[in-house]
């Protein structure tokens, strides 16, 4: 607890009282008051080590020692109000789920440059334009033409 207070005081000293409150809001402490998950993550974070930050700003924490095995890795999402598991890019997924001990930064080196596609979170419920539709789907704008014949065109354009 003392370290938390020390950290807060240090922040006030650096940024001033206004900057301190802005920082508090940006870091999600205010939304954490209503969001139990976030608050629990924040409490969890105390004393944990940040293993890495991915390119979306998600922070990956690990705390060995007094935490239960299997609950010793977690993520604090970059977005404090709208977060979900699909925001974790594939390179961090393995580390986060104890599939591998290699961190996302290490695994990123293995990503193929030629055809590796950027990670995109799941936008379900965020509007049709964000949703992935397969190429046979009626809502896919680049929908494949399954007509197997060419029609006669009355006037050649």
């Amino acid at each position: 607890m003392a370290s938390v207070v020390r950290g807060a005081l240090k922040l006030i000293k650096e940024k001033g009282i206004g900057g301190f409150f802005r920082e508090i809001r940006n870091e999600g402490y205010l939304s954490g008051l209503l969001d139990g998950n976030l608050m629990q993550t924040k409490i969890h974070n105390i004393g944990a080590t940040v293993v890495g930050v991915d390119k979306f700003g998600n922070k990956y924490y690990e705390k060995l020692g007094d935490t239960q095995y299997g609950r010793h890795r977690w993520v604090e999402y970059a977005s404090k109000n709208r977060y979900n598991a699909s925001q974790v890019p594939p390179e961090w997924h393995g580390w986060l789920h104890y599939i591998t001990d290699h961190t996302g930064d290490e695994l990123l080196l293995l990503k193929p440059t030629r055809y590796g596609v950027e990670h995109k979170e799941n936008f379900s419920g965020e509007g049709d334009e964000y949703i992935y539709h397969s190429k046979g789907h009626a809502l896919n704008p680049g929908q494949r033409d399954w007509t197997r014949y060419q029609t006669w065109q009355p006037k050649k354009a």
Binding site: Y149, Q150, T151, W152, Q153, P154
Partner: protein, 744 residues
């Protein structure tokens, strides 16, 4: 049950068999050494085949014809006695005995090469295995097809064949229907002993139809023999010897035969495959539909291979009377035209001259309204080349009910003779042409008009040295022929016996006169037909046992149209018509139609006549409907739907039936069997499907005398481009390529 138990059971059974048949061993001995016994005993043994052999049937229902019963000889295949005529090969005898011998180079319709050595069998008292395809069967020969020696010999041959064969079955178009693949299942080894590098062969360019991967070639020379013997072009040959042996065109050139696609079928491996079909589908994905070709009047039997809504390829179907097992390149490769330029929605031309897609309801209502506004004699109907009998009878019935008698079939010319069936069909029949010994071709170029008929004539000419006389413009033939002249005056000379070819004709036992349907378009056709009749009478071409006076028609629906009497009251009526119903007639000249006439185009392709149409009614193509077609010899055959109709199109006769109801003159048939029974009242021969009904009377005796003399104008070429003759083939890209590269 354990393996040991099984084995002991099997042993027990065989022991019991041996015990129950004590003569078994003894009789074997007689059969294998007949020379040690007297003939009576061996005859008795032959008369009673071994009772423990299960019955075997000839492979694929093969039948054998004994031209002379005395020539029958008996051979034994794996102990089965089988009677075959003298001169048959061991392989054919095995087929009759129900044993299918593996083979690559042997083909029923080609000469025997005997170079693949796959058909090796063991013959008793022969020191080595013999190639059964090249060995004539001899009386009393004892052939063993399943002995370890024969199997080992075939395995050896297979190993040598696979030595230089690439292992590319996964990317080979022949995969799944490859003889080498199939037979290597039985005789191939699971590992190779060949450690050197495989040879590779440069691919040859045979044109837009046949794709070559010559490394896969096993030098069976079937294609070479096909090209020289059946197709009659000397394009393919064998170059080099030993491991340097290659099949190729001697110099860089394309294969210029109209039958070239058949080398794809006869190639036992994937060396020659279809270029348009390359990598499009696997043969096990395809649904085969047995149907009829409509691109010419031969009515070749085809199998339409489709996948989903698409026709993927067309392959021939065996019909000894019509196309044997070949089809022309046009038949085989025009199918991509079925996917292009299709009409899929009913359309009405608006006031601005543009077409607008409308519903069937609106389109039929407009047509029905207009047809009631014009006078009956101003209504004209033209059936197109590809029309089936059902739609033609429906069109005729409908327009007759509207009061019009002016319905005709395009290309039949003015006043065609539809009364006497013998006057417009091939009376000799296509297979009957093989019996002819002299041919007289009048104004017809069978090579482009009916390639399969030409192949039949060529077969006869090669087999029996039959003479061919040709009257018409200079044309391309692939057999020996005499060009007698170009015009009707040559016919007159022949009729009067003044022409040198007349002696050949009059000395012929079975002369065959083949008149091209191009004559129908001439004004003096009656005069020409009477001259031809005179020739036929003089050379005795029409007898009770032989009818050698033939017409060679051009189009699939032509015979049926004449059977159904689609003859116009007056051909001039189109010039004063107010309502023209065009049912797929794209070669009819619609410039003659007055500008204020209302033209309905019913058809499946936007080809030529649609541009003049006021209303377009989309119909289905022959691959999408059931229809009856009669070929040039008068054999009725039906197409079967292979793929669904495109868009909103409907079957031809159904459109007319619906229109008749909207026009309040309902036709009395609602389904196919009802419309067929209606056809039966007009032309019962069209209902006898797959059976050729010969014409009842011959024409020459019944035709009225014609006083006028034929014109001096020479005969003209009727089909100037073999590859593009109708709306489907004109829409085809492959056919366009062919006509650009191979046009003769």
């Amino acid at each position: 049950m354990g393996l040991g138990q099984l084995a002991s059971r099997a042993l027990l059974r065989s022991a019991r068999l041996a015990a129950s048949n004590p003569h078994h061993q003894f009789r074997r001995a007689i059969v294998t050494t007949p020379e040690l016994h007297n003939s009576a005993e061996s005859a008795a043994a032959e008369a009673h085949p071994e009772p423990d052999l299960p019955k075997r049937n000839p492979v694929a229902g093969a039948r054998v014809h004994f031209p002379n019963p005395d020539d029958a000889i008996e051979v034994f295949v794996d102990g089965y006695p089988v009677k075959v005529p003298k001169g048959m090969t061991v392989l054919q005898a095995c087929l009759m005995a129900g044993v299918d011998i593996p083979r690559f180079c042997y083909h029923d319709r080609l000469s025997i090469a005997g170079n693949c050595r796959m058909c090796l069998v063991e013959v008793e008292k022969s020191p080595k295995p013999v190639a059964s395809c090249a060995m004539p069967a001899l009386p009393g020969m004892k052939i063993k097809t399943a002995t370890p020696l024969a199997k080992k010999a075939r395995e050896g041959v297979m190993e040598f064949l696979l030595m230089n064969h690439p292992l590319d079955c996964p990317i080979c178009d022949q995969g799944g229907e490859c003889d080498l693949q199939d037979q290597s299942m039985a005789f191939g080894s699971d590992r190779g002993r060949f450690t050197e590098t495989k040879r590779s062969v440069v691919d040859k360019n045979l044109g837009p139809l046949v794709k070559t991967v010559m490394t896969r070639c096993i030098q069976c020379t079937r294609c070479v023999r096909f090209a020289s013997e059946i197709a009659g072009v000397q394009d393919l040959g064998v170059l080099g010897r030993g491991s340097g042996e290659e099949i190729g065109t001697y110099v860089e050139r394309l294969m210029t035969s109209e039958l070239s696609g058949n080398v794809i079928d006869i190639c036992p491996v994937g060396a020659l495959t279809s270029k348009p079909f390359a990598f499009k589908a696997r043969n096990w994905e395809l649904k085969g539909t047995e149907s009829i070709d409509v691109t010419d009047a031969v009515g070749s039997n085809i199998r339409i291979d489709s996948r989903g809504p698409e026709v993927m390829r067309i392959v021939p179907r065996l019909n000894e009377d019509i196309n044997e097992e070949w089809i022309s390149d046009k038949t085989r490769f025009f199918y991509d035209g079925l996917k292009r330029q299709r009409l899929n929605d009913p359309m009405i031309r608006g006031a601005d001259g543009r077409f607008k897609a409308v519903s069937w309801h609106d389109a039929l209502a407009v047509v029905a309204e207009v047809i009631h506004k014009v006078k009956p004699e101003e209504i004209v109907g033209v059936a197109g080349k590809l029309s089936d009998a059902e739609s033609m009878i429906a069109l005729k019935d409908f327009l007759n009910r509207m009061g019009s008698e002016n319905i005709w079939y395009e290309g039949n010319g003015p006043n065609p003779n539809a009364d006497l069936r013998s006057g417009y069909i091939m009376n000799t029949s296509i297979s009957g042409l093989e019996k002819a010994d002299v041919f007289l071709l009048v104004g017809t170029q069978p090579r482009v008009e009916a390639a399969m008929v030409n192949a039949r004539i060529r077969k006869t000419v090669i087999a029996t040295n039959a003479k061919v006389g040709y009257v018409g413009p200079s044309a391309d033939f692939n057999y020996d022929h005499e060009h007698l002249g170009t015009g009707p005056e040559t016919l007159t000379e022949l009729a009067e016996g003044r022409h040198p070819f007349y002696s050949a004709l009059s000395n012929a036992k079975n002369p065959a006169i083949i008149v091209g349907a191009g004559i129908f378009g001439r004004k003096d056709k009656d005069a020409i037909f009477s001259v031809v009749d005179n020739i036929a009478k003089k050379i005795n071409a029409v007898r009770p046992d032989w009818n050698g006076l033939n017409m060679l028609l051009l189009n699939a629906g032509q015979a049926a149209a004449l059977d159904l009497g689609l003859v116009a009251e007056s051909e001039k009526s189109i010039e004063s018509a107010k309502f023209v119903y065009v049912m797929g007639a794209d070669d009819e000249n619609l410039d003659r139609v007055p500008d204020d006439a209302f033209v309905v185009y019913q058809g499946h392709h936007g080809d030529r006549s649609v541009y003049r149409a006021n209303v377009i009614l989309p119909a289905s193509a022959f691959t999408e409907k059931e229809g009856t077609y009669a070929n040039t010899e008068g054999c009725a055959q039906t197409t079967v739907p292979a793929v669904p109709t495109v868009g909103d199109s409907r079957d031809d006769w159904k459109i007319i039936r619906a229109l008749s109801e909207v026009a309040r003159v309902s036709l009395p048939y609602d389904n196919l069997s009802a419309i067929r029974s209606r056809i039966g009242t007009v032309a019962p021969n069209l209902l006898r499907v797959d059976e050729r009904e010969p014409a009842a009377f011959s024409t020459s005796a019944l035709r009225p005398e014609v006083k006028e003399k034929p014109d001096a104008a020479p005969f003209t070429t009727v089909v100037d481009n073999f590859y593009m003759t109708d709306s489907i083939t004109r829409a085809s890209k492959i056919m366009a390529q062919c006509s650009a590269l191979l046009k003769k």
